[in-house]
Symmetry: C2
Subunit: 375 residues, 2 copies
């Protein structure tokens, strides 16, 4: 994997990541393909939306269908019919999300499957082995994702464990030699000193890129932005930076302004299934009665199939009738919107106009107070 930094504008960066499965232009948004499928979309839809890389979840594929099955069927790219790049997380965040169903020890994480209650164990070495079997282009070390808020003592203890696991993961990864890139994950909670320490220690271990983890877990937004800027400033300029699990369109813009290159989030896909469409004017909640006879497309500026072919009234009708096509079309639109947003940011950075772009975006984009994030 090769990363080239092509342009900067303040802290914002435009780059190019070259993988065995194609080029990824950064900043980039990675649609989330939890079970080896971006919910409601086919690979044809993903290509049409402009996707270059998708994320798949190690934890979910470990449980179902099993990494051995995926490997036997030719690896994740072939299994899911996606010839673009793939990034897998390490399973740390999902294990963390299980709360009472998990137990963390020095050796690794014991947990019970949310699918069938069966007992499982993920160590740093097993997480690497699973990701090597899946065959993603970019993999991650097993980390512990800390709950917010946490005491300084708990944060220190957790960070130390994550760093020991990172070293073990790196060793296992090197031994496997599967031609995959591995990103380090910077944890450290919300304490600036510990975040700085985490960044430096992770860089010292040496990875192909760096993820910023443990964000968007409940901390205030300004704190997330500040910590992102702090960590990004401590990472090597010539390697990619990935802010895990973020976020809303306004978060992407704010984080690119702070030096982030890569993002993933379930927001465009999950909210699509709950009837919310993203537009340059802000999110649109389709169940509202005012769209019942609206002949306009979701977003007049969007070239996606949903916007070219159908009215808000029709899409609302599909959504209100729980028709499966609603989920595909709304997801296609939202993923297209997120990918257009990162492409527009990239063009603004290359032209040296990221500041004005950000101002125009914020002046127009109305943050929604409607919460459709249930799933």
């Amino acid at each position: 994997m090769k990363f080239e930094l092509l342009a900067t504008d303040g802290a914002a960066r435009a780059g190019r990541l070259t993988t065995a499965h194609g080029v990824v232009d950064t900043p980039i948004f990675m649609p989330v393909g939890t079970h080896a499928t971006v919910k409601a979309l086919g690979p044809d839809d993903l290509r049409a939306a402009g996707a270059q890389i998708v994320l798949a979840n190690t934890y979910h594929l470990f449980l179902r269908p099993g990494h051995d099955v995926v490997k036997e069927l030719g690896g994740l790219h072939r299994f899911m019919g996606w010839d673009g790049a793939i990034l897998t997380d390490s399973g740390g965040f999902q294990v963390f999300s299980l709360s009472k169903l998990r137990k963390i020890t020095e050796a690794g994480a014991e947990f019970r499957s949310a699918v069938d209650g069966s007992a499982h164990f993920l160590s740093p070495e097993i997480a690497v082995e699973v990701q090597q079997a899946l065959g993603a282009d970019i993999v991650h070390p097993l980390d512990e994702c800390l709950a917010y808020p946490a005491t300084r003592e708990a944060t220190e203890r957790s960070l130390a464990l994550t760093l020991r696991w990172a070293a073990r993961s790196k060793a296992a990864h090197a031994a496997g030699a599967a031609g995959q890139a591995m990103f380090g994950i910077v944890q450290g909670g919300t304490d600036e000193a510990l975040r700085s320490q985490a960044a430096r220690a992770t860089v010292d271990l040496g990875f192909d890129g760096y993820a910023i983890g443990g964000m968007a877990v409940g901390e205030p937004k300004p704190l997330m932005y500040d910590l992102t800027a702090l960590v990004a400033g401590l990472l090597p300029a010539n390697q990619p930076r990935y802010l895990m699990g973020v976020g809303k369109p306004e978060d992407l813009v704010a984080s690119v302004a702070r030096g982030v290159d890569m993002f993933d989030c379930v927001l465009p896909t999950r909210n699509a299934r709950n009837g919310q469409a993203f537009t340059a004017d802000g999110p649109l909640t389709l169940k509202q009665a005012r769209y019942a006879k609206d002949a306009a497309p979701l977003d007049a500026e969007c070239a996606c199939y949903a916007c070219r072919g159908f009215s808000r009234a029709y899409l609302r009708h599909l959504f209100m009738s729980s028709e499966l096509l609603a989920y595909r079309l709304l997801t296609l639109h939202n993923v297209t919107f997120f990918l257009r947003l990162v492409r527009d940011m990239r063009a603004a950075i290359a032209a040296g106009g990221f500041g004005p772009f950000q101002a125009r975006f914020l002046a127009r984009y109305a943050v929604s107070s409607v919460d459709v994030s249930r799933d």
Copy 2:
């Protein structure tokens, strides 16, 4: 609308129906788009599957979003983004399916909405008005679909009502002059004399084509085939014949052999959502464990996107994980299979080889005993 009979082979016919929305090559299968969408497919998928005409349900669109809304948004073709031909039923079969929620009088059918319990009324004139607002290429008169079994007396009474409603529907249709074709519906239950009488009386009223209704409602399969042959033999040779709500692949072959040109059925779409894929060797039930590591496509002879891009193992994984993409890909495959079947029959008829085709089909196609028809 123009119908040309291009070739016959025994009772089997190959024809061409020319509508304002393109040519329909017969025999043809019409995917069912109940709520102005063929479940799980976009118009792009329908085109890729080879669809030339789809069915939409007057009853469902009357209730939601309402024919007035569809009309205001430019009619059904524009509303659902489908520029091929559309056929609407009259709502008679759906009202019949409501059983205890309906009351039939000379004036029409009173019923309660399955959506919200509200009271509604469909008369022959209203059913025509609704279909004119929807703007389908082919419409139908309101009919009474009789339950099986029924006494001769009940059948006579019901048939007489259907014929009086057919005359009223035809008059309303002529007055509306919306440039739509109207097919008459032949009812008459399972009594051969009454079916013959129904066919002759409906032809005497004079329509652009003829539907055979009230079939596949519980009567034995041989009886359905015999009645179909009887009615088809009494219909004008130079007009299209449509067997409503039929059926399984083997039923399509048997009915084409008896002179039918057009079919609709929820089977390929509904069974897809329940994990059943149709192949030339018979239906395949994807949840079976033997497909868990099967690298083969659903059907090696199929050129659909599901078969070109994905293994049975992956499709099974999607289905077992309740992933939305499973429904799209399986539906796309099944609709492609049904449309290939009618295309193959058409070619066999044109070549004068329908008999051998039918023998080959039956020798290979293993009828499934697995019932996945729950919905």
